[in-house]
């Protein structure tokens, strides 16, 4: 039971897809200007990831090895189309804001990575748990960045004003920087830094190191 749970809890921080494996950065930058879009994107990606992992894991013995990537992409793309249509039907405004990024889940390295690295080799149960864990790990980072960017960029969370801006006779001057893509880079960078200072086993060994003067070669 504990082993099964690690499939779910591992990707939250220890194996987090964004901060450790640096996957899915593109969408993490693009859709986090507000918390609402970040939440919908997280839900869409987690749903696609779970559905595609389950499907791929189910038919993993029947997928010819040489064309496995094509089969995986076809399955993922069909799931993405389904999710995209559902969003268009029930949340048209948000789906307009997310524009191409829901469609681009097909090419999200995270989804392909989990399909290729895990679902192809494991039974359905662990595959779904692993997909859910990775989806939640991705969502955790997206929600964090979305909250920070919306709060400091507009003074509101989910559209509810927290800091009253100067334009409405408050004190808060919205940080234009937070609504620009570089701020997401800063925040992801700072998050990675904080996580690796706390869980130092995540730090990679540097490829190059300085030669110590006076040390014996």
């Amino acid at each position: 039971m504990t082993k099964k749970l690690t499939y779910l809890t591992g990707p939250l921080i220890d194996q987090n897809p964004i901060t450790l494996q640096i996957l899915g950065i593109c969408s993490a930058l693009a859709v986090t200007t507000s918390l609402a879009t970040a939440l919908v994107m997280s839900a869409a990606l987690t749903a696609v990831l779970c559905l595609s992992s389950a499907t791929i894991s189910l038919i993993r013995h029947h997928i010819p090895n040489v064309i496995r990537l094509i089969v995986q992409i076809v399955i993922i793309a069909s799931m993405v189309v389904v999710i995209d249509e559902i969003l268009k039907a029930y949340a048209f405004g948000i789906s307009r804001q997310l524009s191409v990024f829901v469609g681009l889940i097909v090419t999200n390295c995270l989804v392909m990575g989990r399909a290729e690295a895990f679902a192809m080799r494991n039974p359905v149960g662990p595959s779904v748990l692993d997909a859910l864990g990775n989806g939640l790990g991705y969502s955790l980072i997206l929600v964090l960045i979305g909250t920070i960017r919306e709060l400091f960029g507009t003074g509101a969370i989910l559209g509810v004003t927290v800091f009253v801006p100067v334009s409405e006779e408050g004190w808060f001057e919205p940080l234009g920087l937070m609504q620009l893509a570089p701020s997401a880079f800063f925040i992801i960078g700072a998050l990675i830094w904080a996580i690796r200072s706390r869980w130092s086993q995540q730090v990679e060994t540097p490829k190059l190191s300085l030669v110590k003067i006076g040390a014996k070669r």
Binding site: W171, E173, L175, G176, L177, L180, F186, W193, S197
Partner: protein, 263 residues
Amino acid sequence: MIGIDHLSPRSVGGVTIAQCVALIAPLAVVATADPERFALNLVAALVAALVWEGIFATLRRRVLSFHGVTTAFIVAVVLPPEIAIWQIVFAVSLGVILGELVFGGRGFGFVQPAAVALSLLLISFPELQLRQSTTALAVATVPGAVLLLLMGLISWRVLVGAIIASAVLLALRGAEMEPVTVATAMAFALVFLVCDPISAAATPIGRWIYGALAGGLVIVFSPPGAPTAEAMVFAALMSGVFAPLIDHVVILIHARREMRRHA
């Protein structure tokens, strides 16, 4: 813990102290306009910088450093007096952390932390106007500049390179500008942001190129007329980013030539 060695003129601490001494006259000139407000802003900037230095020194178990003082001084001179205190704290914190402390402290980074602070502030609040240079501020910069030049902490090559490049570009633009007006507008930021010993290039030829790049960018970034403080800040940041590349290329070309000569 601070020994004599840490305060010798060629050490990091010595450089910081020399820069602080050079900044006293500009600070005094800016302070005369609105002393109370200025003192408040300066204290806010100093506290923000030193608190972050303290936090990082504690986390990294190092000796407490005080290099953020120059960042706070420069930011206090350039920022307009009517700015909100939290905006100062925001700018100085980002500058000190992202421009310096993430790399390991003064001397390990490659950009000027005050330039980082000011440019992030300008990007965040696009309607903000920096304090434009005045004749008094430019004159007050001169003694500090001479001191730093004599100590070898700023390079005359960078200064001359920047002046030549901006003069050429201004002439190409066909602008009729009094040289004194341009010099007044550029003096403070040129000495303390562009010529910073850590962010500037370090090879002799690299310094010419770096200075020319900075001086050229100032004119490119400025609207028609005298160079603005905003343009100086962004030019300092951009050229600082390119300085390591310039040095690398200069050293590479030099090494190639030496190899060929001895082949």
